[in-house]
């Protein structure tokens, strides 16, 4: 449905989305045709067929949910530790100075180094969660700390003038001020945690894991499987991100946190 409004072409949002998907599928198909080697690039149709085969297999869901469980575990640990330590860092200059080099190191160190170190330190089962939490932690820590530091000093003065007390100042001023930073950190962190978690599964070659299947597809040069399992990661990540945004929206509406 295309409408012409004041001599301008107006395309509805859903149509733009469909056109976008079709456009990129077309590009993918074109690359597939140009390359002409299934071992390098597979067609969208092949991947779709393989995905359909996978989802009808009972083992697929067990594997996908096991991976999701590990990643969500790491994500939650990363979010909670980032949140608590950011509050501590905001309250104490000493804490902030102590944490800054740790956060800097965690941010700058390649994920693969952490995963390999973690494989030395702990059982492979815990490595994806550990890796996911390490990726999420600095994102949440940095954003929440920034949110606290950027809380309007004039509103804090107002709170002091009207004797808000610590709890009310936190609930009425800090939480709503930090909420947009926290939401942005969680959204970014969720996508990153999937990347880190699946990378850890690949390097750990865990049984019942999406990463394990990606590793196998590399070993056996099953490019269709590689594309299909990667698509699974993307679909789960996008779905969870969508779900989290909805939850955050509900929470911000319920507690009057949105401006």
């Amino acid at each position: 449905m295309i409408f012409i409004i004041r001599n301008k072409l107006h395309v509805p949002d859903f149509a733009v989305k469909i056109i976008t998907v079709v456009f990129w599928l077309f590009i993918w198909q074109a690359i597939y045709v140009c390359v002409g080697q299934e071992i390098l690039v597979v067609s969208p149709a092949c991947v779709f067929t393989r995905l359909c085969n996978l989802v009808t297999d009972g083992g697929f869901w067990f594997t996908a949910f096991a991976t999701m469980g590990r990643i969500m575990e790491g994500f939650i640990i990363g979010v909670l530790s980032g949140l608590v330590l950011a509050v501590l860092a905001a309250r104490s200059h000493v804490c902030r100075t102590l944490m800054q080099p740790v956060v800097l190191i965690v941010k700058a160190t390649p994920v693969a180094s952490f995963i390999i170190l973690a494989l030395v330190w702990m059982h492979a089962d815990f490595v994806p969660a550990f890796s996911a939490s390490l990726i999420v932690f600095p994102v949440v820590w940095g954003n929440v700390l920034e949110g606290i530091q950027k809380t309007d000093e004039k509103l804090l003065q107002m709170g002091r003038m009207f004797q808000f007390g610590k709890m009310k100042t936190a609930g009425r001023i800090y939480v709503p001020s930090v909420a947009p930073y926290f939401t942005a950190a969680c959204t970014t962190g969720l996508g990153l945690s999937w990347k880190g978690g699946v990378a850890a599964e690949v390097l750990s070659d865990l049984p019942f894991s999406v990463g394990g299947h990606i590793y196998d597809s590399k070993i056996y040069l099953e490019t269709v499987d590689l594309f299909a399992w990667t698509a699974v990661v993307i679909i789960f990540s996008v779905f969870l991100e969508f779900l989290m945004k909805r939850l955050m929206k509900v929470a911000t509406d319920k507690f009057n946190l949105n401006i």
């Binding site: 004039k154 003065q157 107002m158 002091r160 003038m161 009207f162 009057n256 946190l257 401006i259």
Partner: protein, 202 residues
């Protein structure tokens, strides 16, 4: 003990806003600090309220005193409705909401309770800020250009409300508006600066 400021010194960077400033306030009545913008009136008010620390000197007679304030900016919580903004200054939420409804009615905002600051005009936000300060009550009202952005009729109504509520309290009014000074002040300190100094008392 009446509120006193003795030898107040406050510096921002290289600029001395207060340089040994002294002022004594009566226990009640309206004292107007009248002077041009940027002369240091707001800084003095913030130091009296304890929101900013003096570099040296002191504000005495502050202990046990309940302050209420209309800030130069509205300082309303943008995520709360007008009603919730007023109720927020009370410990008891239910009581706060009752007071909020009462005071919003008094300032002519009955029916606008559920609106957030972004949905209200500048003048309406100002009235919410005035209502919040008056609803909170106190021994000392600090009013920093409280009637700015209000039309003449509304300003006159707000002045009446402030006078009525603060009649038994000390009211420190910061303004550069001659009409407000004449209508409200029992004593007016004519100031200039920075550094802030008294050039006349009327």
């Amino acid at each position: 003990m009446p509120l006193q400021v003795n030898g107040a010194v406050k510096t921002y960077g290289s600029e001395k806003v207060l340089d040994g400033f002294n002022i004594n306030f009566p226990e009640k009545g309206t004292v107007c600090l009248f002077g041009p913008s940027g002369c240091g009136k707001t800084t003095l008010l913030n130091c009296i309220a304890g929101l900013e620390k003096l570099d040296s000197g002191m504000v005495s007679g502050r202990s046990g005193i309940k302050f209420s304030c209309v800030f130069q900016e509205d300082r309303l919580l943008p995520w709360l409705s007008a009603r919730e903004n007023i109720a927020a200054v009370f410990h008891d939420r239910k009581m706060g909401l009752c007071h909020a409804d009462e005071w919003l009615g008094k300032v002519g905002l009955g029916g606008e309770e559920a609106k957030r600051p972004c949905e209200l005009s500048g003048g309406m936000c100002r009235r919410v800020a005035i209502a919040r300060a008056l609803a909170f009550g106190g021994d000392v009202f600090l009013l920093d250009e409280p009637f700015q952005r209000l039309d003449l009729k509304t300003r006159s109504r707000m002045i009446g409300l402030v006078k009525e509520k603060a009649s038994e309290s000390l009211c420190i009014l910061v303004t550069h508006d001659e009409v407000e000074r004449r209508e409200m002040a029992d004593i007016a300190y004519i100031l200039e600066g920075p550094p802030l100094k008294t050039i006349d008392i009327v």
